[in-house]
């Protein structure tokens, strides 16, 4: 399952926790209900957490300094709650680690994901990588502030997306 970063395929150094098994030693993404178990590992063991779309990200506040990754998910591309979660992580909780989008987002949502603070996208549709890249490059102007703090373009609300 390729992992996209900045429109390109990148290596995934994370593994998912397997249900019913002990957590492995390296970089692992745990479901929210195993967060305490993950936090109990050595402090230098990279830890990520996967949350469902109905989670208020404020519940991660105490754990965030230990987290290097938060995975948000799109059960369908129509369910846009993960956009708000990603933005709240960046904006309200000042999270600077990796935000990974999982589930079934569409390539056409890529720019929205990035502008809400998502850094990587895990997609099971490898054939779409070129489409994701194109979706990233096709629009160069936006009309509202985002967590990326793009450069304002003179008049009004406009800004360039820096590519």
């Amino acid at each position: 399952m390729p992992l996209l970063e900045n429109g390109h395929v990148t290596e995934d150094r994370w593994v998912q926790a397997t249900a019913g098994e002990a957590l492995p030693a390296g970089a692992v993404i745990v479901p929210l209900d195993r967060l305490e178990e993950g936090l109990a590992r050595p402090k230098d063991a990279p830890l990520g957490v996967a949350i469902g779309p109905d989670v208020d990200v404020a519940v991660l506040r105490a754990a965030l300094p230990r987290l290097a990754l938060v995975a948000v998910t799109f059960p369908t591309f129509r369910d846009g709650r993960a956009f708000t979660q990603a933005r709240a992580l960046r904006e309200h909780l000042s999270f600077t680690g990796e935000i990974r989008a999982t589930g079934t987002p569409l390539p056409d949502q890529y720019e929205f994901l990035l502008r809400c603070g998502v850094t990587t996208v895990q997609t099971d549709r490898a054939e779409d990588v070129a489409v994701w890249q194109q979706a990233h490059e096709i629009i160069s102007i936006a009309y509202q502030p985002s967590v990326l703090h793009e450069r304002a373009q003179g008049l009004g609300l406009r800004r360039f997306l820096g590519k």
Binding site: R81, F83, H92, L106, C116, Q134, H149
Partner: protein, 562 residues
Amino acid sequence: MSTDTAPLPVGRYAYDEVDRTFLSQRVAQFREQVGRRVAGDLTEDEFKPLRLMNGLYLQLHAYMLRVAVPYGMMGSDQMRELAHIARTYDRDYGHFTTRQNIQFNWIRLEDTPDILERLAGVNMHAIQTSGNCIRNVTCDEFAGAAADELLDPRIHAEILRQWSTLHPEFSFLPRKFKIAISGSPHDRVAARFHDIGLVAHPGPDGRAVFDVFVGGGLGRTPIIGVHLRDNLPEEDLLAYLEAVVRVYNAYGRRDNMYKARIKILVQALGVEQFREKVDAEFAQMNRADYRLDPAIVEGIRARFGIPDLDAPADAAQTLEADRRADARLDRWVRTNTHAHRHEGFISAVVSIKPDGGIPGDVTADQMDLIAALADDFSFGEIRVTHMQNVVLGHVRKDRLRDLWLRLDGAGLGTPNIGLVGDIIACPGLDYCALANARSIPIAQKLSARFANPELQENIGTLRINISGCINACGHHHAGHIGILGVDKRGEEFFQLTLGGSAENDVAIGQIIGPALPEDETVDAIARLIDTYLVLRNEGEAFIDTYRRLGAASFKDAVYAPA
């Protein structure tokens, strides 16, 4: 960039190269998406939200393309392009909608990228006229002209248009989201029947402040919007709307599309708890990031053309004399004009509701004529109203007769604004995949039956709204008389509601009794009106008499024909 030195278009925002670049990128993106769909790389399920974000619906017989007319304002050049599209890609006509847009009903999927490219050529688009996103922001059709206006709401409508365009967080909301903005104490935008209604007025320092209503709407569950806060400062407008929509995106229902609008969330939480959530979100936002600086507002205001309102000193007297000389003109001025802030000017409403016609339908030739009249009489500026008519906002009073003569000669001089003939009807079963009944034939029969202008004026203000199903696109709940099409064992029936209003006296109409067969509906409404004429006190409109006497006095008229 020579085009950027052209005169600014009156009444709307002038695009520059940056805006045009954005539009052309957007067209290229949609062309690529259509290509993937045609090639089979996108399923219809995946393509659907993409086409909807570009205003393209799949209707009963064909694709329908809904073109955005931001806050109802367009120029004569844009209207001519719409006429060209109607001739080239549709069947020679278009349809003005209740959200101030125009839609084309017979579009081929393969043609849509070309149509969008042509629209982009006149700085138009179909972005977010559909889909679960923030839709076209609607506005007072007399904005910037009305004598009773406190503040021109179009500048802030444009700011909201820009802010909501491809918004990264709010393009996949639980359901569609509609914002209306008014700058007049007289509500002409149905502010309390919108997801967010904004009423703008000048604050103590002269900059705009906003009273905010939330959670209003019609549809299957008609609800009057609740008051969320007063005097929202202009600089916090975007931050506060971000907070409201963010709460909705996080908590709005997604399990049932009929329970997914923000009105359901507001009702479920109660206004106090909803307000607490919005305030909590607002309090923790970095407001500097979202601050709407006065320099931004003034930068956008500077892109609006201003009409040069220069009229002869005797313009008003000339119109008075013209009216005395021609009773038909006099009647049209009484019914189809609105007071302008400048004493030498007046706003004229072109009725798109001819006797026996289809409300809101406009032919390509009529579009061209409206464009020509806008050039000749109103600075090239055209407004589409939420009543599905057209306004020429700034007409010199001494030239109003000339305008009327040309309208009248072309069959566009119907004197029925605000009267029985000014019916709002959804497209109904003639076009729509959701409808249970045909709305248009009922509208046509009513309009023909009450065609006599003297009779209409005698009856007075009366708003009739017709919806072909419970989704209520004809806003029947907001009509003084509402008509709802229902299906009874395969036959079309119509249910009447009375007493609704979308204006300052906002109310939801109440069902008067069992639905009527199609062939009895128009007669029943005629009896309702006859009853009102008998029962009314001096100066009472239908809605006043209904409110004074209640439903009982009218029920017999509907169900017990003499």
